[in-house]
Amino acid sequence: MSTLELYSPTDLSDALRFLEHGGGNVTVMASGTDLLPRMRRKQVSPATVVDISSFTEDLRYIRQSDGTIHVGALTTITDLLESPMFYGKLSIIREAGMLFGAPQVRNVATVGGNICSATSSEDLIPVFMALDANVKLVRAGGERTVPLKNFIVGKRETALEPHEMLAEVSLSPPGGHGWAAYEKLGRRNMLIVAIVNEALSLTLEDDLRTIRSARVALNRVSGRIPGLAVKTNDFLSGKKVTDQTITQARRVLASELSLTSDFRGSGAYRTEVAQVYLGRLMERCARQIGGPS
């Protein structure tokens, strides 16, 4: 018999009340597709789990207001794929969704759970980072919004305070002459943890040649920590989209990645794939925007 205390809140405010008074070693669980196997392997041993899949109405939505799209934390990956929102400039989300797990995982796995798991196997993190997404963190009687890039602070470490939970991700399509694209490499096409998972959001100036902003994000920038390729992004800003720029950017990317080896792939292999994907993503985005590639 397990000693796990399981709390199934009736709604969001009930969940937040519980988190406020729940004591230590409390973990919030959405669908559990990531947490459950880890609990069974004893990689984590929370004393109490707050099962927020017990209610979904408050946190399962995809809404648009003033060009910003708000995605509730309990929105499933299948919900993303079935939504009319993620076409055109946000088709990157469908691209990632279609390569996420497999249908029966996508039917339950949630956007919020994927982000809060905060490790290199979470496919949506690079996508949302490239789109410069923000996350809304709520607690009883308050909320704050932080950039996703500041929310992930380490492997499986987030900026969440003990009484807080993630309620929403908000993002905007790349503005002006912009596009975003995604690449994922696994040992097979489906139901696979990525070896490399890379997203790019690119915006060009009116000349359709000069880069206004480029945001590359990867499932690993160091160790097993997802993040933005900050130096590469800085390097690309203001440059013209040319073969030479891409060649140089690939070198910058390699210099800033510090990737480790494991059974899925060596650090050197990951770095090489990340470089190849950078070129491919630049070309894909530039072609979509209509500039020279």
């Binding site: 397990s2 796990l4 597709t33 797990g101 497999a102 249908p103 029966q104 339950v108």
Partner: protein, 157 residues
Amino acid sequence: MAQRAITINVNGTEHPVQIDTLDRLIDVLRDQLNLKSVKEGCSTGDCGICAVLVDGKLVNSCLMLAAQCDGRRVTTLEGLLEDPIMKRMQGIFITNNAAQCGFCTPAMLMASWDLARHSPEPSSEEIKVAISGILCRCTGYYQIIDSIREGCGRGKR
């Protein structure tokens, strides 16, 4: 308080069950309700052999706590044996030798049934995606894919 009482509707019947908080849906289906079509393979969501429908959606029953299914509707292969689409699909699987060792077959049938309901004429790509979460270690995929195409097609007529 590591126990709780829940009620799950399984294959159309309400089942009040006493569970441990860490029991998964598959544990209740197999061990308490004796529904052995639900197989346990990897226990981590990688093989899909434990697939069932929860509120009409295909899910891995090893990745869900039983407690999460309180008040919800679960369907296993046993609950679809008299369903016309499933009967037809099952017959075609048998005719086409789409089962080798048979261990993945219940899950393949559940995914096929789920696809057939939504898609009367799926492309090969759609069929592959529909069963992409289920591993057949005998690797007899082509017989399975052909059977699903046939099963879906006739399902509409």
